[in-house]
């Protein structure tokens, strides 16, 4: 018997709130970007999913695992829980609309991933043109974090 059992908890909003807060710290102080590659990479991954609307992370069982008796539908329903990302997606959409208006998801994601990459590698972040872009991206992640808190 396990030490503790509880209904599965969806951490997605907390995870992305933490990541968004980390990103804002990087935008406030780009020199720390090189030490924050992991949070920035995970945000870039989230944006990639947003670009392709790929939010179902239903985890398939192994090809034979699905056939074994304990996982058969002709028995208990053992389907893996699908995460509920509605709160995260809504926060992304709201931040997108608020900060970047009518630009497409494709353009938004390209822009943000480029800026995250520059922060992570501390390259080209002092150019005046980039600074305005960084400020917009910062506002995006602030709005995103706020959206997650209120979801």
């Amino acid at each position: 018997m396990a030490l503790i059992s509880m209904y599965e908890r969806d951490n997605s909003r907390t995870v992305y709130r933490i990541l968004a807060d980390q990103a804002v710290k990087c935008f406030d102080n780009p020199s720390i970007g090189a030490e924050e590659k992991i949070p920035l990479a995970n945000l870039a991954r989230l944006l990639e999913r947003y670009r392709y609307d790929a939010f179902s992370d239903h985890v398939a069982l192994g090809i034979l695992e699905a056939l074994s008796a304990k996982n058969s539908a002709l028995g208990a329903d053992s389907r893996t829980a699908v995460r509920h990302m509605e709160g995260v997606i809504s926060a992304l959409e709201a931040a997108h609309a608020r900060v970047y208006g009518g630009i497409s998801r494709e353009d938004l994601v390209r822009t943000l991933q480029d800026l995250l990459a520059r922060i992570a590698s501390s390259s080209g972040i002092d150019e005046p043109e980039t600074r305005q872009k960084l400020e917009n991206a910062r506002r995006f992640f602030v709005a995103f974090a706020e959206g997650l808190k209120s979801a």
Binding site: R9, A60, G62, I63, D114, L116
Partner: protein
């Protein structure tokens, strides 16, 4: 000790466990890569835990969950040391899987996933564990763990089943998923009996379904068992897609491994579940895919009559001698052809080479070597002063193994008693290893010249 302090203590425990793990020898890849990744993840997590507000229950729970994940991953990695699995095969698998699983998110940490391999108990333990959870905080380079059944660790012919799992891995890359949905799945569900959940339900409840289906329905009369919902329908199509993926990556060896393993766990071939459609319907789709790829006539024009006959036996045994039954045959030839062509294009675009049939000379060489109980590979055994070794795709070695497994001792050069399946597997595993040496020599020779 409060939660925050305990979590920081656990970070140190994980770090110490990681150091202990490195006492083993690891093959199939660079242990430095995963050590570096682990250290970065641990450092990142510790940095987040240190300033956490003790009242932030949500954050504390998230960090506890992340530490558990890291601890589990370290334990799995500990089981991936050399000797636990067929490392010649796993290296080839990595070469096949890495290009299709490469992320493209624009950051320095992206790139090739780190692939580790370990053995687990149970015939059903073939799988790839993917780090694709949307509620995971702490991933730099993704780590994929490939799991083999412990008892089958050297049965490389059966490992062709991993082609299916690579399909699931490709699905985790959003850009691939978008293409797979629109170019592979959409053609499959555009027409036929599975176009919707209601039509799929009607198909399962068809009064003209084969007898095994009737028997299963009698065992489980509750309508719930034949009611297909949206999640199940999505899962089923992902399984169909992954079967095609297995086929275009591993070729006919995949079909043989697929049938052998799936029919072992479900000898009726007609059971279904929340995640998988009946095997019989999958085989019917693969029959059509084989036809589209020309595998139904492969070998017919070989000069070597014995080889031609043995390829025919393989075809009858694992592809199917006749058109599938009407209930099982869910997709039209055109649907399957479109899906297969799209998959091949997706693989090529990702710089992953789809399977191509071996020419007669290659297949004959491999089967003959097996008959002589020699590891099948591109070694020149002619005795020439300057051997002329050649490159051979490891998937052709597997195919040669499957042909040898059903051809009994029909070849004249066959020595001694009939080859057992386990012997064929061992020889093929060694063949893959020898081929690696040949390819390495060839590469270094070219580098020396250039």
């Amino acid at each position: 000790m409060d939660t925050r302090e305990f979590l920081l203590n656990e970070c140190e425990n994980v770090r110490n466990t990681l150091r202990e793990v490195l006492r083993h020898e690891y093959a199939a890849g660079d242990s430095k890569a995963f050590y570096r990744e682990f250290c970065e993840r641990l450092a990142n997590l510790k940095k987040l835990i240190e300033p956490v507000d003790p009242a932030d229950a949500s954050a504390l729970a998230t960090f506890a969950s992340e530490l558990s994940l890291l601890s589990r991953l370290v334990h799995q990695i500990e089981r991936s040391h050399a000797g636990e699995f067929s490392w010649p095969f796993s290296e080839c698998l990595q070469c096949l899987a890495v290009p299709i699983c490469k992320e493209n998110i624009g950051l320095p940490t992206e790139g090739d996933p780190i692939i580790r391999v370990y053995a687990d108990g149970g015939l059903d333990s073939y799988k790839i564990n993917l780090e694709n959870d949307l509620s995971v905080l702490n991933v730099g380079r993704r780590i994929f763990t490939i799991v083999f059944p412990r008892t089958l660790k050297h049965q490389v012919l059966l490992h062709a089943i991993f082609g299916h799992e690579i399909g699931h891995a490709a699905w985790t890359i959003p850009s691939h998923r978008a293409k797979l949905k629109s170019e592979v799945l959409q053609p499959l569900y555009a027409h036929g009996r599975l176009t919707s959940t209601s039509s799929a339900t009607a198909w399962l409840r068809d009064l003209n379904a084969p007898r095994p289906v009737e028997e299963i329905r009698s065992q489980y009369p509750d309508p719930y068992y034949t009611e297909i919902d949206r999640d199940q329908w999505d899962s089923w199509f992902q399984e169909f897609m992954c079967d095609l993926f297995g086929m275009v990556t591993f070729g006919p060896s995949f079909l043989a491994a697929h049938q052998t393993l799936l029919l072992t766990l479900d000898p009726t071939g007609y059971r279904w579940g929340p995640q998988h459609p009946p095997y019989a319907s999958r085989k019917a789709m693969l029959w059509r895919a084989s036809k589209h790829l020309g595998w139904d006539t492969y070998g017919n024009s070989f000069d070597d009559a014995i080889l031609s006959a043995n390829v025919g036996h393989f075809r009858d045994a694992y592809i199917g001698a006749s058109i599938p039954g009407p209930w099982e045959d869910l997709f039209s030839q055109a649907q399957v052809a479109t899906a297969v062509d799209a998959l091949v294009a997706i693989l090529r675009a990702a710089s992953s080479e789809p399977f191509g049939m071996p020419d007669e000379a290659t297949l004959l060489q491999l089967v003959r070597m097996l008959g002589e109980r020699v590891p099948p590979c591109g070694s020149d055994l002619s005795g020439a002063e300057k051997p002329s070794n050649r490159a051979i795709d490891f998937r052709h070695i597997l195919f040669g193994g499957w042909i040898a497994s059903i051809s009994a001792d029909s070849r004249p050069e066959a020595k001694g008693p009939e080859l057992e399946f386990s012997e064929i597997n061992k020889l093929c595993e060694m063949g893959i290893l020898h081929q690696r040496a040949i390819d390495l020599h060839d590469t270094r020779k070219k580098e020396a010249v250039s």
